[in-house]
Amino acid sequence: MNLIHNRPGASGGDAADGVARLDVDAVNAVGQRELYQKRQQIYPKLVHGRFRLAKWVFLVLALGVYYLLPFVRWDRGPEGPSQAVLVDFPNARFYFFFIELWPQEVYYITGLLILAALALFLVTALFGRVWCGYACPQTVWTDLFIAVERLFEGDRNKRILLDRAPMSFNKAWRKTGKHVVWLAIAAATGGAWILYFHDAFDLLRDFFTGQAALTAYIFFALLTFTTYSLAGTLREQVCTYMCPWPRIQGALTDRESLAVTYRTDRGEPRGRHKKGESWDGRGDCIDCKACVAACPMGIDIRQGPQLECIGCALCIDACDDIMDKVGRPRGLIAYDTDDNIARRKAGEPARWRFVRPRVVLYAVLIAGVCAIMLAGLVSREELGLHADRDRNPNFVVLTDGSVRNAYTLNVQNKARVTRHLSLAVSADPQPGVQLLGARDELVLEIGPDRTRTFQVFLTLPREAALRHSIPVMFTITDPQTGETAFTQDVFVTGAAP
């Protein structure tokens, strides 16, 4: 079977006038059983068409964003980093343009991940595996690597012949050139990754002068290796054997989800077509196998929905090309639904229903999460206050019989300026307030983009400390901006409850 798949050119004769029948079999066809399956090399054939073009456009956009985003600048004043997107581990900050997140705000990242998952569910329910086919890094980089491969070794037939040929200078330089360019792309991928964790320009300079941190080099090497091996060597093996997504997708689609589909109602019975023959009583599929040859996963879409199919739609382009040549309408392979195939077979018109319960559910969930996150971001305070009352001891009795409680105030200043916050404590009865380290009044000085703790003592005279526990409100105010933050706690008197 390996040999059949790898046979170059049109040794199978003509599928129709002017259309060669490619000798290629699907890699997942049921064949000789082996305990461990030997991998079959796939030589995807270049196609031209709408979906190929769409994939090129997305590839350029996605890789452009990935490689260039670290160099985009964003003004955060003299104190803040000037990189628009930055994960600053040493200082525990995440920057995304106008957004700055502290570690305790990791729920925004959680929200983002939930949003990403729901968006994936929604898109899959509507259009099938478009993520896999167009946007997944594995697909994008593999596409790029295959393009480089074609540049050096030529398209399908030339590559098969080159692999068969004995070693020669021609073969050696083509193979070497391919791997060199692959490595360069992989290195750029690993190189761009680390730029998200440190100022890009500084890191580039340090990286090439050997002064960058060891972790930078380790992650550079790691991502270079994974890009090179996953996109260059492993390719479809990643999608078929390593990725859980193909297994999950079955639960997310239904009979009305779009998917790259061979329209059996129109294609069967398939067979060779001679010029001048009638198309009546037969299907439009001339069994030329152009769809199989074009498939980067090496499968035959005509076998129906399969685990291996990443929905890249290149077989649609390949088939449309053939249909044009034999003078039949395009769309023998197209985005269609299982439901429509069944309806057409039953003589009913096709229908497209995009508003379905699961689609509505996903959309509502996405809107909900978006609203929550937006509300959170909009109402995000640049001032935070938290009080921890000392519980050991719960309270202290002083020589004059008055009762004292101690508190640790944790203040967060998320602004990029030093603040002098005034502290107010309110309770009934009003306790005396002592701030450890205060100069003349209750002022908390806190540097830019910092967290600081303050020790506060509250004291009540014995005759006022009657109730077991008294609610206390701490309020901090920035006199410059009028911002406030408050927190509630209690004062414990030691009186019987």
């Binding site: 049921v30 461990y36 202290v396 009795v397 002083l398 101690a406 009003q430 005396g432």
Partner: protein, 321 residues
Amino acid sequence: MAEHDKPPVDEISGVETTGHEWDGITELDNPLPRWWLWCFYASIVWAIGYMIFMPALPAPPGFDGHTRGLRNHSERANVAVALADLEARRGPMFAQLQQTVDEGGVVAVLNDGDLLNFTLAAGRSAFGDNCATCHGVGGGGFTGYPNLRDDDWIWGGSFDDIRHTIVAGIRWEEHPETRFSEMPAFGRDQLLSREEINAVTDYVMTLSSLTVSENADLALGAEIYQRECASCHMDDGRGDQSIGAPNLTNNIWLYGGSREQIRHAIHRGPYGVMPAWEQRLPEPVITALAAYVYLLGGGETLQQREAGLAPQMAAETASAG
């Protein structure tokens, strides 16, 4: 192969199944990719390499411990390195604390927020390791073990007093400069009769305005107090920190403020002991500890320190007083 030996084949996919069936669901017996097998072998090779480079195998009988591996990796050694690293990082802050205290006194620490937070953190850590067993995690104390957060000090609550107490201990005879005083066990040693102890107990209670029985013989109590107690606790009962004689006129009672507890203290003569820490802890840690205890809220002059006393408190105190 006989017919019944052939594995069953799934009709739809044409793939063999494992032959297992659960409620009509069968499992396709798709082959693993061959490279998966190679990964398995590679992991075995990795394991062998790991055993060579890392400590992995118990030593054969007759030898101690385990193989060290070519890397001679040891978590214990890593901890030692990490601790040394920690010491090196803390060193400059401890030095700054020592210098600040030496030059400006402990209140100077209050003027530097970072140094203050370091002092509190370092002090809290050392306190938890060494002091909390007796004085409680937060320094709240227990009966017989002084509360370090209140404003009553037996041997003085200035920074230097606290520091000296930590350095030399209380009644810790191994240290030449230890704090030392001894209250007689008036009852146990039969220095006073039961009636006399009852009378002086009642009298002491009146010193801090505690309610006593109408039958109390306060005249006798006062007489005994002046004869037996006033030399240390002073005529008015305010005590003397220079000799470690507690103040008997306030609300704080180390051994309890009930009549029974006060009577018992007079009967047996308390003899609290605290170890000296000079030989046990490095000097900077003792400084941090003393500063921490001082800053827990009870440090003398801290309460009255002009800068630390907020107007709100001053006003409250005035209105309450």
